[in-house]
């Protein structure tokens, strides 16, 4: 009955692999699906945070910074709790990074604040003597691309079913509503900043990239991850 199979190496291999991979599939796939589900209470990125994430990607912060705290004591002492895979459920693309020229940033919102980022992004050496991180002064003059941020958030909601607009959750709404929201968010960040040009720009209705980036960095904290 199997002489046909024995004469056809390709189909023999297939017939061999099917039963032998069952154990692997049964043990690996369910765990994998379980672990990639969002952690309980995880919030999607708000409009301003989405825009900041785009700035983060555009300026290649992930070339020097990872976003993955490993379960080693040396890392949890420096950065805080180790990362869980479910925390990345709403990261498309994820920004784990593969090189740490600078420190990990997955928990940076827990121990750095708006005013510090403002100083640091303007001139890293003003707060960390000898820092080799480049200054990002252009972020204080370039404006955020609100349309693309909305397009991304909207795609995440419609295509990937990200839980926007849930009761007590992160609101997105229509384009007009989202635009109003992003200004409110920007106001809260700018209130803690000192740069007068950024403040003036917001009064004119322009949100500078630095504002969005700081909102994103602040969101890398427990507040986004734990049900409040």
């Amino acid at each position: 009955m199997f002489s046909w199979l024995e004469k056809n190496p390709f189909f023999f291999t297939v017939a061999f692999l099917v039963p032998f991979s069952i154990a692997g599939l049964v043990e690996i796939v369910p765990e994998f699906a379980q672990a990639s589900r969002p952690t309980e209470g995880l919030k999607p990125y708000s409009m301003l945070e989405t825009a900041g994430r785009q700035v983060y990607i555009k300026d290649s912060c992930n070339a020097c910074h990872s976003q993955l705290v490993r379960p080693f004591k040396s890392e949890t002492d420096r950065y805080g709790m180790y990362s869980l895979s479910g925390e990345y459920a709403y990261d498309r693309p994820f920004l784990w990074g593969s090189k740490r020229t600078g420190p990990d940033l997955h928990r940076v919102g827990d121990y750095r604040t708006t005013d510090w980022h403002e100083n640091h992004m303007w001139d890293p050496e003003s707060v960390v003597p000898g820092s080799i991180m480049p200054a990002y002064k252009h972020m204080f003059s370039n404006s955020v691309d609100i349309d693309t941020a909305y397009a991304e958030a909207y795609t995440q909601k419609v295509v990937f079913g990200m839980p926007y607009d849930t009761p007590n959750g992160v609101a997105l709404g229509s384009y007009e509503e989202a635009k109003a929201l992003i200004y409110d968010e920007a106001k809260a960040i700018v209130a803690d900043m000192k740069n007068q040009d950024v403040k003036d720009a917001l009064a004119r209705g322009e949100i500078k990239e630095i504002v969005a980036l700081i909102a994103y960095l602040n969101s890398l904290s427990n507040e986004r991850r734990v049900a409040q």
């Binding site: 949890t76 420096r78 827990d110 121990y111 708006t114 005013d115 003003s126 803690d192």
Partner: protein
């Protein structure tokens, strides 16, 4: 001969092991060679005839049978109990190791002397706090609180005169009215009796300060200086309170460092900050 030093137990044991291996190998190999040479096949035949070849009747060796049964039992346990309930997890290992380490750490340093704590506090400070407060803790020209003066007499006097806010207590501390030099006296009392520094610039004011403190401040900060829940922070462990609540005021935003440090580490940070002059 240095390489054959049999006083070293490792060398002696290695040599003994070598001899054992040689003896066992010779004996076992010899036995089998002899068996191959001399032994005839014998036993009860099963009576088959496969192209002239027959088979001996042999029972399953006891060792094999036992192994087989044990493996079946282990397999059932593993599938239904071991794998679902006791599976290895890296995070589980982290949790256990860190718990054990932390307990050891706490007991090792539970009675550390002042200088050890100050050094420990400084090393934590350089990693966690220096990016905002600067390596010397002076606050990098106003980017964060100057911790060299913070918490000491002059700062307490300033707080009494101007009030304090930003840690998120039920209501901020209002500016306090005291009689002349009342603030200085209260500061002397707080520094001598509550603060980790345990001494003051104005030792002669301490006894008068006690009265001021108990009349004006104790309502919110407690007679023993340990604070009142929601009303006023502990002045005995003021750094601990700042780490717990953070502080957002005119200088900037200091994030809370809740649960980031062990008790000893928090104490060390306090000792370090209060040792700064």
């Amino acid at each position: 001969m240095e390489w054959l030093n049999l006083d070293d137990s490792v060398n002696a044991l290695s040599l003994l092991g070598l001899v054992a291996i040689v003896v066992l190998t010779v004996a076992i190999v010899g036995k089998y060679i002899k068996q191959i040479k001399d032994e005839k096949a014998e036993g009860e035949l099963a009576g088959y005839d496969w192209d002239g070849i027959d088979e001996f009747k042999n029972d399953l060796p006891v060792g094999w049978a036992a192994m087989y049964t044990i493996l079946i039992v282990w397999g059932l346990w593993y599938w239904f109990v071991g794998y679902p309930l006791n599976a290895y997890s890296q995070i589980g290992e982290w949790n256990e190791e860190v718990k054990e380490y932390q307990a050891k750490y706490e007991s090792k340093w539970a009675n550390a002397d002042k200088q050890t704590l100050i050094d420990m506090g400084q090393s934590i400070f350089l990693v966690q706090c220096a990016p905002c407060h600067g390596e010397t803790a002076e606050g990098m020209g106003g980017k964060a609180a100057n911790l060299i003066t913070w918490g000491k007499e002059d700062h307490i006097e300033k707080v009494v005169a101007q009030g304090a806010q930003g840690m998120g207590f039920m209501s901020p501390m209002p500016p306090m009215m005291t009689d002349s030099d009342g603030a200085k006296k209260a500061a002397a009392y707080i520094m001598a009796n509550f603060s980790p520094r345990g001494e003051t610039k104005y030792p002669n004011l301490v006894s008068e300060g006690k009265a001021v403190y108990e009349n004006v401040c104790a309502a919110c900060h407690g007679i023993d200086g340990n604070g009142v829940e929601m009303v006023g922070p502990s002045l005995v462990d003021l750094t601990g309170e700042v780490l717990k609540y953070g502080k957002k005021d005119s200088i900037g935003y200091m994030p809370p460092f809740k649960d980031r440090f062990t008790d000893v580490q928090e104490k060390a940070l306090g000792e370090y900050i209060y040792s700064l002059r």
